[in-house]
């Protein structure tokens, strides 16, 4: 019932706002919350409880308890008591089968008790096992609270904002504001965060309305401000998070009409609503007594006031009708009432300090847990530090001898005192175990209202004290947070070559290689591969890692790093190198071109560039040689033109003499190509005459276009990664990471010529020597299938009926009219023509080992 205009009320009676509740129109005022507007129109039952579907009404009015959680415009679990009224909002109850007033599932409250005790789901709905799908369907329908609307689509945009502050004050009450003012007066950049309903203005202090979710290492405090997540890095954190009003435990303590003091202050003070006609107040501290002026103002009759500091009460029991409070019995004295204000004292909100590593200690003089032993960089002030005023320590329960009525320890999860006693009787006597078994503190309030009362109960039932029981580990988030806010914007960095758009325009099917986007093929991988053999293909290899290694020690440096010999390379020549770890394992491969006495140009695999640069720099941090390593991966685009017509194409693109005598296989030359300054590498991983052109990336599209234009009559066609794989496999070129894994070494991978063991020392040398000593355990070989069936990569080589090797690559080659592949086999099978048995799709197929490239083993095409 709406009172006459009150001083300090937050509603603007000149601005009406309306929304719907189950389709029916509800009218309130600007400044109302959804809950206060509903309350004004007579709504008292706001939800049905988790397990028993008992009617629940407003209890805390500040976003702590679960009682007012509703579905708003498809968003579940919205706390109506702190959600501002919004024009046109569509509000519905959740967790009901029927209506709030008549929830069919309330049958569990009447008869379910014996069937649904604590931990019942560990013992029931297990047999018969084939009935599980039925149990599951039932459980999914009745479990949980709100429902996620799977078809709602993206309803909100969440942003993340990074902020810094010298001092971050969490909590804008009296002590928080004082701390913020003090810090600002000292000239420190101060920010105050408060999650109350009213904005705060403080001179010299930036204030943010939001909830600090936790404290993390490095002064990181994330603040939930609805649609923005502020990631604060604070030099110093002041926690002024206050203290949480605690309930009392007695039968009927969850009836609609039982409230905490803040509910009275807000209903009367903010929204001018009468909280009841006849009230009883039971308070262990000033909290309950402070509501008396509000009750008087509202015209509520005050029937009985009990100050637990002065009066000892042994039994409290509340009775109701249809879930709504009708009377309270105090040590036998029955008082009719429809409002019961309870206060069990206030518990300091220590969670943010516990996250930071503070200890939590029980103050048995005052019956509260306080944070202590704070780590550097964080401090606590006000009620959160334990300054909660004079209070009596409430009894664990006020059941006395009462047998009737449920006494709720955890109203979020519907856990009663009997459930807690049963759990202890079943052996879950430590608080961490009891928590997990009973689920106390695991609901929406996350222990704010139930943790300390449950500790008192555990202490009594275990005949010990609260200090011994202790608290459970506090973990973020302090308040529930929408997953969307934590997810932020859906952005993942992707790497594109300068030629990317041309691939899309040519109809390429794109794929990921690490975080690079690359063309898998342009529609017909087999034809693309064939075209390279027959006329001319072009592939974008800009993703290759590229390094300049420069300095007087560059050759010596590379010799120490690689198993290869590079010192004897002449300027203008190229070698293939395989990078090793110190355990002799293959890390990466690429080409090394010597540009001059002191300059080398090193390429790496597309996904390995970053790791290789770090590897090089790390070794040089140790060796300190006179060499500089510069990563130019993105600075250069690169394309490979390959096929019998490649030379003719090059004559059309450059003035350089590209005759075979002038530009030999494995030569590196400088020239302008299509007008772009370039480095040309004559290498051949795809088996045909080819040139790899490296040039500044802004000219990527230009050079590509020129190649396609000038090579049109030569039959030029772009080819992608899939045809490239076929072509490479025809030449038996290994793909690091595909044909090798983290255990492979160059010796067993059949590339012994790479490792120059006569060198003094190189990374991995000793390990490779050890491989020779111990003998090979396996070897990488090529194979041809006898029946043209292509085995799956990863397929097993069968030896004596057991797995004895594995296929790493396999493809059909149109050029060779055969199915070919590579596999790891035992050394005794690593012989030309040896027979292999390969498991393919449940049956076995035969293959023959090949040790030399399938296509053009002499490499004549490359050298033409």
């Amino acid at each position: 019932m709406r009172l006459e205009p009150q001083q300090g009320e937050r509603i603007d009676r000149s601005h009406e706002v309306s929304f719907t509740f189950h389709g029916a129109s509800v009218r309130g005022f600007e400044g109302d919350t959804l809950a206060s507007a509903l309350y004004a129109e007579g709504q008292r039952i706001f939800s049905r409880s988790f397990k028993y579907h008992r009617p629940r009404g407003l209890l805390c009015c500040r976003g702590t308890c679960p009682n007012c959680m509703v579905q708003v415009d498809g968003t579940p679990n919205v706390r109506a008591c702190v959600t501002p009224i919004r024009e046109g909002a569509s509000v519905e109850a959740q967790n009901v089968w029927g209506s709030l007033d008549h929830d069919l599932l309330a049958i569990t409250d009447k008869i379910g008790g014996p069937f649904t005790p604590v931990g019942f789901y560990y013992r029931t709905m297990i047999r018969p096992r084939r009935a599980w799908p039925l149990y599951e369907k039932f459980l999914r329908n009745v479990a949980g609270l709100g429902k996620v609307d799977k078809h709602a689509g993206r309803a909100s945009r969440y942003d993340v904002e990074h902020r810094h502050a010298e001092v971050l004050v969490i909590g804008g009450g009296e002590s928080g504001q004082a701390a913020a003012r003090e810090a600002a007066a000292e000239g420190r950049h101060t920010v105050l965060v408060d999650n109350g309903p009213d904005p705060i203005e403080l001179e010299g202090v930036e204030t943010i309305q939001g909830t600090a979710l936790g404290t993390f290492e490095g002064g990181l405090v994330p603040v939930d401000a609805g649609l923005v997540l502020y990631r604060f890095r604070a030099g110093h954190v002041v926690v002024a998070a206050g203290a949480v009003e605690q309930p009392l435990l007695f039968p009927g303590n969850d009836l609609v009409g039982v409230v905490l003091p803040e509910a009275v202050r807000r209903l009367v003070g903010r929204w001018s609503l009468r909280p009841g006609t006849r009230a009883v107040v039971i308070s262990a501290d000033d909290g309950g007594l402070d509501t008396l002026p509000y009750l008087e103002r509202a015209g509520t009759e005050i029937a009985e006031v009990v100050d637990l500091r002065e009066t000892r009460v042994h039994e409290i029991a509340a009775q109701g009708r249809g879930g709504r409070l009708a009377s309270v019995e105090l040590d036998g004295l029955k008082v009719g009432c429809d409002l019961l204000v309870v206060s069990g004292g206030r518990q300091p909100a220590y969670a943010l300090l516990a996250h930071a590593g503070a200890r939590v200690e029980y103050d048995d003089g005052r019956g509260i847990f306080v944070p202590t032993d704070l780590p550097p960089g964080i401090e606590v002030v006000g009620p959160a530090a334990g300054e909660t005023g004079d209070a009596a320590i409430p009894a664990a329960t006020y059941n006395g001898a009462a047998k009737k009525g449920k006494c709720f320890v955890c109203i979020c999860e519907d856990v009663t005192d009997k459930d807690v006693k049963r759990a202890i009787a079943e052996g879950f006597d430590s608080i961490e175990l009891a928590k997990r078994y009973t689920t106390v503190t695991m609901g929406p309030c996350q222990g704010k209202l139930c943790h300390v009362p449950s500790i008192r109960l555990y202490a009594r039932e275990n005949e010990t004290d609260e200090a011994t029981i202790g608290t459970t580990t506090a973990r973020p988030p302090w308040q529930p947070v929408e997953l969307g806010l934590l997810a932020g914007r859906p952005h993942e960095p992707a790497q594109r070559t300068a030629i990317h758009h041309r691939h899309k325009e040519l109809g390429a099917k794109m794929m990921w290689t690490g975080s690079w986007r690359r063309p898998h093929s342009y529609g017909d991988p087999a034809a693309e591969a064939k075209n390279v053999h027959d006329s001319l293909g072009v592939i974008d290899v800009s993703t290759l890692g590229k390094l300049i290694v420069s300095g007087p020690d560059s050759a010596a440096f590379l010799e120490r790093l690689y198993p290869n010999r590079f010192g004897d390379m002449k300027a203008g020549r190229i070698r293939y190198g395989v990078l090793n770890s110190d355990a002799g394992r293959i890390m990466d491969d690429g080409t090394l071109a010597r540009l001059s006495e002191e300059d080398f140009y090193v390429t790496t695999t597309s996904t390995g560039a970053g790791a290789v640069v770090e590897w090089f720099e790390w070794w040089n941090a140790i060796w300190r040689m006179d060499v500089e390593i510069v990563n130019v991966t993105g600075a250069l685009a690169a394309v490979n033109v390959a096929g019998p017509n490649a030379r003719e194409l090059m004559t059309r693109l450059t003035d350089l003499d590209v005759s075979n005598d002038a530009f030999m296989y494995l030569d590196a030359k400088h020239a302008h190509v299509a007008g772009a300054p370039s480095l040309l590498l004559r290498i051949g991983f795809v088996g045909e005459l080819g040139y790899e052109i490296h040039f500044p990336s802004p000219y990527g599209e230009h050079v590509w276009n020129e190649i396609l234009a000038k090579g049109a009559d030569l039959g030029v066609k772009p080819f992608g990664l899939e045809p490239q794989r076929i072509l490479r496999l025809e030449k038996m070129h290994i793909l690091v990471g595909q044909d090798t894994d983290s255990e492979s070494n160059v010796l067993e991978a059949s590339m012994p010529w790479i490792a120059k063991l006569d060198k003094d020392d190189f990374v991995g040398k000793w390990s490779l020597e050890h491989v020779l000593e111990r003998g090979f355990r396996e070897q990488l070989v090529g194979f041809e299938m006898e029946n043209g069936v292509v085995p799956a990569e990863g397929g097993q080589i069968v030896i004596d009926g057991r797995p004895g090797g594995r296929v790493t690559s396999a493809r059909w080659s149109n050029q060779l009219d055969r199915a070919i592949g590579m596999a790891w086999v035992p050394p005794n099978l690593a012989e030309e023509d040896a027979e292999l048995t390969i498991k393919v799709d449940g049956s076995v197929e035969k293959a023959r080992v090949r040790l030399r490239p399938f296509f053009d083993p002499e490499g004549e095409h490359l050298r033409t």
């Binding site: 290492e217 990181l220 890095r233 355990a583 970053g610 770090e614 790390w618 300190r624 000793w766």
Partner: protein, 85 residues
């Protein structure tokens, strides 16, 4: 993990800007026995306490340096850039 690491060039930065390759180890000077080689490659001290580690400021100055970090608290006691020879 969200602790700050004091990069010797850039100052304190969130740990995810860096690459860590772990405990600083000492490479054998010359031809090690198999046991010494295996020790060097695979066995780490892995202390619950202050550990000297290799870090690289991957998203910043890209420099390699060593840091003494308490593995129990993530407090970084000191950082050092390897001296030039």
């Amino acid at each position: 993990m969200s602790f700050l690491l004091p990069c010797p060039n850039c100052g304190p930065r969130p740990v995810d800007e860096f690459t860590c390759t772990g405990e600083v180890t000492v490479r054998p000077k010359s031809d090690p026995t198999l046991r010494d080689l295996t020790d060097y490659l695979y066995f780490k001290n892995n202390v619950a306490g202050v550990q000297r580690e290799w870090w690289c400021h991957r998203l910043g100055c890209e420099a390699w340096f060593t840091a003494d970090r308490d593995t129990r608290t993530n407090e970084v006691l000191s950082v050092e850039v390897p001296a030039k020879k």
